[in-house]
């Protein structure tokens, strides 16, 4: 049971990060009906920029308190990512808004490769140890441990999601975003500057990605120039799970995917232990005798879950949990 609680806590933590990144996918999708392929790379850049700032500030026995340094890292990462989000929109999406759908996808893939390899040049090809500067007290809940970082990640995500919801549903600009998502042409006729709204959406998505990037860095203690790829894929799966284009869906999808992944990783080893399968037990008895376990799939298959969820959703409920019908334009 404590394994269960522990994995739920871990799942909630990674799930909150997925949710933040998934919000980026879903918002951009909402306004231009295209997937921002390079979004994962924005997360990576956020983590990298924060890494540099934090390392620089924390290195020289600095007088600044750790929390301030961490905040400075976030504060640097956000504008950097916003700039990249804007650049993405201008270079990869805006010029191709009326081209066939394949075209912006391909430019975005190109941008994602460029960003990745620029990051490689700037920050080296080796994994970088993200400085662990803040105290990380461990609390115990029902036999499981939850760290201060985990609590902070979950709380901060909730706050950011609430802010975003307020922004989209309660402000003038939010109305403009929703109008554009509903119908670009009509929104333009009503005086909404669609170009501005679309650019702003990319920028907001990038800001969320920056925060997510710092969270990933602090949580796993490591950053790498390829980290955005897997994270982006998973967050996209989360957005699809929740129903792409739907804000609440992205949040729900992110949390659910985090839970599925954590619980999956926690139990897959036990479930695929062939020494416990009634039929297989005899067949593999010889190998069970050695150490009592014959695990078919260990937690190294963790990354597969997100894709299985993605494929399952697409097959059985393409519109996602909370989404409306997805049009099937080819």
């Amino acid at each position: 049971m404590d394994i269960f609680i522990q994995q739920v806590i871990n799942g909630l933590t990674t799930g909150s990060v997925y949710a933040l990144v998934a919000l980026g996918y879903t918002m951009v999708y909402g306004v231009i009906q295209l997937i921002n392929f390079a979004h994962g790379e924005v997360v990576m850049i956020g983590a990298m920029v924060a890494f540099s700032v934090i390392t620089a500030l924390a290195g020289t026995a600095s007088p600044l308190p750790p929390a301030v340094i961490l905040l400075a890292g976030v504060a640097a990462a956000i504008p950097a990512c916003m700039a990249i989000g804007y650049l993405l929109e201008r270079v990869a999406y805006r010029p191709l808004r009326h081209a066939p759908r394949l075209a912006p996808l391909i430019t975005a893939i190109g941008m994602s490769i460029i960003l990745q390899h620029l990051a490689l040049l700037v920050w080296s090809r080796n994994p970088l140890a993200f400085p662990q500067i803040v105290d990380n007290p461990v609390f115990s809940i029902g036999g499981a441990a939850i760290t201060g970082v985990q609590i902070a990640i979950i709380l901060l995500s909730v706050v950011l999601m609430a802010l975003l919801t307020w922004f989209v549903y309660r402000t003038r600009f939010g109305i403009a975003i929703r109008a554009t998502a509903e119908n670009v042409h009509v929104a333009s006729l009503m005086g909404v500057d669609a170009n501005r709204v679309i650019a702003a959406t990319f920028i907001i998505a990038a800001a969320l990605a920056a925060v997510a990037g710092v969270m990933v860095g602090t949580y796993y203690g490591i950053t790498h120039y390829t980290m955005g790829f897997m994270l982006g894929l998973k967050a996209f799966s989360a957005a699809v799970l929740g129903g792409i284009g739907n804000l609440a869906g992205a949040m729900l999808g992110g949390i659910l995917l985090g839970l599925v992944e954590a619980l999956g990783a926690g139990y897959i080893g036990e479930l695929t232990d062939m020494c416990k399968w009634p039929l297989m037990k005899e067949v593999v008895a010889e190998r069970c005798a050695a150490d009592g376990h014959l695990v078919l799939m260990g937690s190294n298959y963790q990354d597969v879950f997100a894709f299985l969820v993605l494929i399952a959703v697409l097959v059985f409920r393409p519109s996602g949990l909370l989404g409306e019908r997805v049009s099937e334009r080819a």
């Binding site: 295209l34 997937i35 392929f37 270079v91 990869a92 010029p95 191709l96 009326h98 081209a99 066939p100 759908r101 394949l102 075209a103 912006p104 996808l105 391909i106 430019t107 893939i109 190109g110 941008m111 994602s112 490769i113 460029i114 990745q116 390899h117 620029l118 490689l120 040049l121 790829f229 897997m230 894929l233 996209f236 799966s237 699809v240 062939m274 190998r287 014959l294 695990v295 078919l296 799939m297 260990g298 190294n300 298959y301 990354d303 597969v304 997100a306 894709f307 993605l310 494929i311 697409l314 097959v315 393409p318 997805v326 099937e328 334009r329 080819a330």
Partner: protein, 356 residues
């Protein structure tokens, strides 16, 4: 094609010249260095891959970002059936079709649940599929050792036809044929067949159905095209080409490991198709050749150039290669969206007015 009708003598002279050039190529390259023959062989393998992906992306308009997975399937099927790993040593003409078959099944497996999806969804699902295959190959070493994990499989059998061995050098009529040169000829032979198949496919009923689906799926459907089967067929055929190429890769390298089948390779093949001109067989071949040789040239020029200019290596040629690929994708889509050598229909599609 017009030339053939107008001046047949000139046309056939040209064909003969090209044929002679292609036959003499490895002998000339051997003089420069056997490495260049190997590079040429790899370039031909990439042509196979690019042509296979072209069926999916260029003909049928389905963006597949996990194409290298089929290459991996073909390569591992060959490696498992012709290496000391399982002690099996089947001849290559039996394994290559088996590899193609498995890749084809993998293609259909991927295609079946994803066919209803729109372009961008499909792209991400195929991306995920490619990763799943790589993760499987990486991890299927315990508890039962199937793929030998990240260490890969070594000592894979080379091609062998009767007494003719493909890994060593032979001298016929006073001319030295190195191992790679011999592979070159067999690759060239298969390449010819693959090109003919592709050109015929494009003109065929199926090829036209693919184009119809690419341009307007709903219209194609209402014209009586069974879009589901035709799209599945595109996936399966594209995958089979990848499988065959993978098998040959295994044999030529003598070693496979999961590292050869990362996302970058998928992107590289996609860049070849996009840069060359989606849907145009000759364009794709040109794209594949271009993107195969440019990195090699970079390898030989960038390093000395940087050493001379800055006294040290600033940008690894490998990184520069990927940067160039990324830029090539962006710039091609921006300024020549139908590729450097576009197919005529695609050109219309990319330049005309569009449904949004």
């Amino acid at each position: 094609m017009n030339l053939r009708d107008k001046q047949p003598a000139l046309y056939w002279c040209g064909v003969a010249l090209v044929a002679i050039a292609l036959i003499a190529l490895p002998l000339v390259l051997t003089l420069v260095g056997t490495a260049w023959v190997r590079i040429t062989n790899l370039a031909i393998l990439f042509i196979f891959l690019a042509l296979g992906l072209n069926i999916v992306v260029g003909f049928a308009g389905l963006l597949d970002l996990g194409y290298i997975a089929f290459y991996a399937v073909g390569a591992y099927v060959y490696a498992l059936l012709a290496s000391p790993h399982f002690g099996l040593h089947l001849p290559f003409w039996i394994i290559l079709p088996i590899g193609a078959f498995f890749a084809c099944v993998a293609g259909a497996l991927l295609g079946a649940p994803t066919l209803r999806l729109r372009g961008d969804y499909l792209a991400i699902v195929t991306l995920g599929f490619g990763e799943i295959v790589r993760i499987l190959v990486n991890n299927l070493s315990s508890p039962f050792n199937i793929t030998n994990g990240p260490k890969g499989i070594t000592r894979i059998d080379p091609f062998r036809i009767g007494e003719l061995e493909f890994y060593n050098s032979d001298t016929w009529m006073g001319i030295l044929f190195t191992g790679p040169a011999k592979y070159y000829y067999i690759l060239l032979l298969i390449l010819m067949a693959v090109i003919v198949i592709n050109l015929r496919l494009q003109q065929s009923r199926i090829g036209r159905a693919w184009v119809a689906i690419r341009e307007d799926e709903i219209a194609a459907k209402s014209c009586g095209i069974n879009t589901r089967n035709v799209k599945l067929l595109a996936f399966a055929m594209g995958a089979s080409f990848g499988g065959i190429a993978g098998g040959m890769f295994s044999a030529i390298q003598g070693f496979v490991s999961p590292e050869s089948f990362i996302l970058h390779e998928s992107i590289m093949v996609l860049s070849m198709v996009v840069l060359g001109g989606m849907g145009n067989v000759w364009g794709v071949i040109a794209g594949a050749l271009l993107l195969s040789f440019v990195p090699e040239l970079l390898r030989y020029t960038v390093e000395p150039a940087q050493q001379a200019l800055f006294g040290r290596m600033l940008i690894d040629p490998e990184v520069l290669r990927m940067l160039i690929f990324g830029a090539a994708l962006v710039l091609t889509m921006r300024f020549r969206p139908a590729g450097l050598w576009p197919e005529s229909r695609h050109r219309q599609e990319f330049s005309g007015e569009h449904r949004s």
